[in-house]
């Protein structure tokens, strides 16, 4: 962590004295509301309202400026108009304050003038050793015990707890706080990061890694600045503490919103998705799902497996739960005969002792407890999902008490999950006892499945980035000295040389200019050849590819035909060079490619190839450099993976060779940032090795 950052973050995290510059008694203003919340939060430290026009605010002695304060605050919260902020920060620095949270809006989010103001703000802070949260944020909430404080707009202060929240949107942050409070989820800290002009998401993650007692970290993000650094800290931290993120701006309209919101630079969603996945971050599709995951993971972080026993007092809800579990990749196995017999002795004759265990509507609280213990003790059960539906007589609190008692005797890695479909929801006692509870089986199943997946993943050894043996310096020389077309595409000869330097084999091919040269190439190669335009164009769209040529005569004719087609298509300049290649008629047509995402960097893609890539849409994407795990996962999650491994009696193809190409390409683009784009399509995966039939590479 940067020098001087840790003491400042201590100030943001556990201040003993907080000054609010602009504090007022009027709760209809932002400053007044925030100050009222701070006072009402029961903060046991010193509160210092700063207001030159008043001697007291809400009965607390006020000061005209920071310098007049009897003590140096650990945290200054600034609520004055934008044009007065820089002066306040300067004064804070002069007074020895290290941590300033700027609530005020009117900075980078309002255009160039605001951006300039923000730059001056940061410069002022840097000069004086002040660290900033914000500007354009809704404040900070945190601390423990006597030190618990709420310096935000949120009228709701959730109970303290293990969920730590960082939000790039103030409104979303406040909505999460309210929703967390409503479902009894404790919040350890909340930081509204606003424009993140200084202290960043990555800074906070690093701090929380060292200093916090977080059970789960929740992120609402509109951008991911410093993606490489984010990847490192999230990978490390996320193995111990699950990180759940909502990344907004998935779509064009969403990004339009984000651009005008916190001045976030947003790339496409594919890259973000890959980055979050590689970082081990659980990406939630909505705030509700994020809170479901927080509920689940704040209760249980260690799971023995995916086998769920469902216990219910209503048949229909049990079926819905079984459907939802299986739809989310969980298993709902039949219970062992001995277990079924125990249940049979315990329950009404109309009850069902399969899985779901339907105790029927007359089920008592005691039966809930007994059945939960019995199925939870079975060696084939990793989690018990207890459904409580609108009761006839039995009360929810009694069922909750029985569940809490059962929780105490179940093994730690057997998850116990409640689903309370009655109007009042789950009794509040459950969460405190480590029993995550939900109001629908669908949400419960999804959260449970994703929590288990997180646990499975963190138990895997970390991946390593292999270093394929090739001469990177030689590859760099080829890229830098090559001629290229106007748009940066390298010519065919350079592409072949570059792939060769990387140790990636292409098919036998020869560049020709005339029908006669094509004849000779066909004769020399023997067998079937392909002839195509050598220029970096979308060849098949303009009739620039001829396949299945088996005679010298046809080879010459093909060159003439392609020439005509290119001229017809308005591409006469492309009509002077042709590539004659061996035609590959076996193996599987795949694609390997690279694109640079403005947000997350080089994206490597692998998938089904050929002309119909977009139609098949069977691709996997990761950010380079790729680890061995990344490559394994990319290949194995393709729908087409079975076609590579010996499908229905066919010979297995050389997946290892495909993996090797991915590692070489990954190394190439990670080492040579001048490579903007690579398109190996098709690359045939053969029984032995691979064969690249067409390759395009673009330089920036």
């Amino acid at each position: 962590m940067e020098k001087g950052l840790r003491p400042a973050l201590d100030g943001f995290s556990s201040p003993r004295a907080i000054a609010v510059v602009g504090a007022s008694s009027d709760p209809t203003t932002i400053a007044g509301l925030l100050f009222a919340n701070l006072v009402d939060s029961g903060f046991g430290g010193v509160v210092l309202p700063i207001n030159p026009h008043h001697t007291e605010v809400r009965g607390i002695r006020a000061y005209a400026d920071l310098a007049s304060c009897p003590t140096t605050p650990d945290l200054v919260v600034v609520c004055v108009p934008a044009d007065a902020v820089i002066d306040v920060v300067a004064q804070a620095g002069d007074f020895g304050v290290g941590a300033v949270c700027v609530i005020s809006a009117g900075f980078a989010e309002v255009g160039p003038q605001g951006a300039a103001r923000q730059a001056r703000l940061v410069a002022t802070a840097r000069e004086r050793g002040v660290r900033l949260v914000g500007p354009n944020c809704t404040g900070i909430l945190g601390g423990v015990g006597e030190g618990r404080f709420n310096a935000t707009f949120s009228r709701t202060l959730p109970a303290a707890g293990g969920a730590f929240l960082l939000s790039q949107s103030g409104a979303v942050g406040l909505a999460v706080l309210e929703a967390a409070d409503a479902r009894g989820l404790g919040i350890g800290a909340f930081v509204s990061i606003g424009n993140a002009a200084d202290v960043s998401t990555n800074d906070l993650l690093r701090y929380w890694e060292d200093e916090s007692a977080a059970d789960v970290i929740l992120l609402y993000l509109e951008s991911i600045p410093g993606p490489a650094s984010f990847l490192r800290v999230a990978q490390r931290l996320g193995r111990r503490v699950p990180i759940v993120a909502v990344k907004a701006g998935r779509t064009v309209a969403g990004r339009r919103g984000a651009a005008s919101h916190t001045a976030a630079l947003s790339g496409g969603d594919v890259g973000v998705d890959a980055l979050l996945h590689q970082a081990g971050v659980i990406r939630a599709g909505s705030i509700d799902e994020m809170l479901d995951l927080a509920t689940m993971l704040s209760c249980t972080r260690r799971y023995s497996g995916r086998r769920v026993a469902i216990v219910t007092n209503g048949g229909g809800p049990g079926i819905l739960a079984a459907d939802a579990c299986e739809a989310n990749g969980l298993e709902v196995p039949e219970l062992a005969a001995s277990t079924a017999a125990q249940l049979r002795a315990l329950l009404a004759p109309e009850a069902s002792v399969a899985n779901p265990v339907d105790m029927i509507a007359s089920a008592t609280a005691a039966q809930y407890g007994q059945v939960t213990r019995i199925v939870g003790a079975e060696s084939d059960v990793d989690a018990v999902m207890v459904l409580f539906n609108t009761p006839l007589i039995t009360r929810a609190v009694e069922v909750a008490d029985e569940m809490i008692a059962a929780r105490a005797v179940l093994a730690d890695d057997v998850a116990l999950v409640g689903v309370f479909m009655n109007r009042d929801g789950a009794p509040a006692t459950l969460h405190a006892a480590g029993i995550a509870s939900f109001t629908s089986p669908e949400n419960a199943s999804r959260a449970l499945a994703r929590a288990i997946a997180w646990d499975e993943r963190r138990r895997r050894p970390e991946g390593t980035i292999p270093r394929p043996a090739f001469d990177v310096a030689q590859a760099r020389r080829i890229v830098n000295t090559a001629a290229s077309t106007g748009e940066g595409w390298l010519d065919t000869v350079t592409v072949a040389a570059l792939l060769d330097a990387c140790g990636i084999a292409s098919v036998r091919s020869r560049l020709v200019s005339t029908p006669e040269e094509a004849e000779q190439a066909q004769i020399d190669f023997g067998g079937t050849v392909v002839i195509k335009a050598a220029a970096a164009i979308h060849k098949s769209d303009v009739g620039g590819v001829r396949t299945g040529i088996t005679t010298a005569l046809d080879a010459a004719a093909a060159v003439r035909a392609i020439r005509l087609a290119l001229v017809d298509a308005g591409l006469p300049d492309a009509a002077d060079k042709f590539l004659v290649q061996e035609q590959i008629s076996s193996g599987l047509e795949m694609i390997v490619g690279v694109n640079r995402d403005p947000l997350v960097g080089p994206l490597v893609v692998v998938g089904r190839g050929g002309t119909a890539v977009e139609v098949l849409n069977d691709v996997a994407v990761r950010v380079a450099p790729l680890t061995d795990h990344d490559v394994d996962e990319m290949v194995e999650t393709l729908r087409s993976y079975p076609l590579l491994t010996g499908y229905r009696g066919a010979a297995a193809l050389d997946v290892a060779a495909l993996r090797d190409v991915l590692h070489r390409i990954s190394t190439l683009v990670a080492e040579i940032p001048e490579i903007a784009e690579i398109d190996l399509n098709p690359i045939f995966v053969l029984e032995h090795g691979v064969a690249i039939a067409d390759a395009r590479i673009r330089r920036t």
Copy 2:
């Protein structure tokens, strides 16, 4: 509708006198709870408790039996033990009662003995002209005005309203009632159908079609008895009143639950999904989604299009809403410059007037109203989604009032949707004013998108089932007289004859027994041929197919090689007949097939074909007989559809010929129930016509 059913359904729907057999004063029993709910519901008609042991129940004069009642009830609710139910039904019939709801459990859901009792129950009712709802149900709720009654276990009686609910699970029904009440959704009627021994889902749908003022119909189903009849009534009714269904038992574990629950016969989910789609039923993935759809559709059923304007007082929620809209297939267009200018004049300088319109946190209720009117009046906007986030000063009720005023001036087919992310949710006034409101933008967007899709679909003309010109009688003769293998597969010659009789062309082929005959066939056909085992086996799995044979010598060798392979694979019986066929090397390899689903009947499938059908997993399924719309939709929703219509410069293929095959196959299996299974794979779609390279047909 069946004779006598309508008066009985009037009795279930709007009784003036209700008898409860088994009524007690003890609210911890089922009968006592139901009777208390009936009394508490304020029902203005006559309530008749039947209990031989008491002269009054809850202060109401009780009768020893039905015959002692001073008036004949329109509805009798039976809560006595299972073994006493049949007598009560007999008495009811003798007393002239037409409608009996049997709450009691202990019938088909508890095994063979219960099933026998249920059969006797139905027989008793039929003999006496009594119609039954149940048994094994939680009761009925409905009526209007003074006639509003709650004869269920539900302590919650939601306000009257346009949502009509039928549930095959009592517990789910009660959960829906509670959830509907919590979100202010009015329920016009609720029928817990239980085991549906007599009155069925289809009966109720037909009744509601004629008699009800339903705005939306909600179904919780575990089975679909009478699928053909369900299809017809749902198609008809669903064009006027949207039908939303949760069909449980999607998965193996879910079906295990369903089998032991309401004695439902459950088939696979693919067939159910196809049937519901063809019926025009909106299938919800959860109870929550069903209620979201009910909320949306009870407010708005006519939509002008998919373009949404988003209005928010918080940037982040606006971005989440934009993401959610686009993810659900809605559009979030930029607003016209003139509109943006109007908004700019109205809003704070920091506000964003793109779409989402971010009025920032200081937005007033008046600004909400003004902006909603302005964007809602724009011709490019079909719906306005108004987000209200945790406010600083502005109150939710004031925003709601402004929305209600705006609703009054907006065109009827411009939808107005509220999203209240604050703790207290949406003010109750909104729904009454026809403004559907939600607590998250994701749920709002999904409901809006699916409601619009329903409206788009019902505006389309109804499909028709074409009758391809072929001789069905001739086809039937071929099927019935054909020899077949043990498992019912027809031999190659019969298959060819049957396809020919249906007017479906196969490729040129010849059945041979020896290498010499294969030689001759290759010579006669010329060009490239395929040779394969003629038996109905998975040929390619056992080396039973040889392709690309261009000489007579190779043809003979292929027959010998296949013989050896079949013997090696333990299939010597299949090694005596071989098919020599023209090899098709152009067009797109597709599959057309038929399977019979035990629940919904013949399922026709079309998709990408070849050996990798399962891997590509690009198929569409519908229940036969197929309408023209069905076939169009099947073909056009395939991921591969672009490959059929002239992809990247390739010639367009003969989609009309593929459609024609689908209609012929559909007609064939609809007319000849003896055909159990058809597998045309591959069927090549060519530039002109199609060519079936392999066909298997199985008879029951």
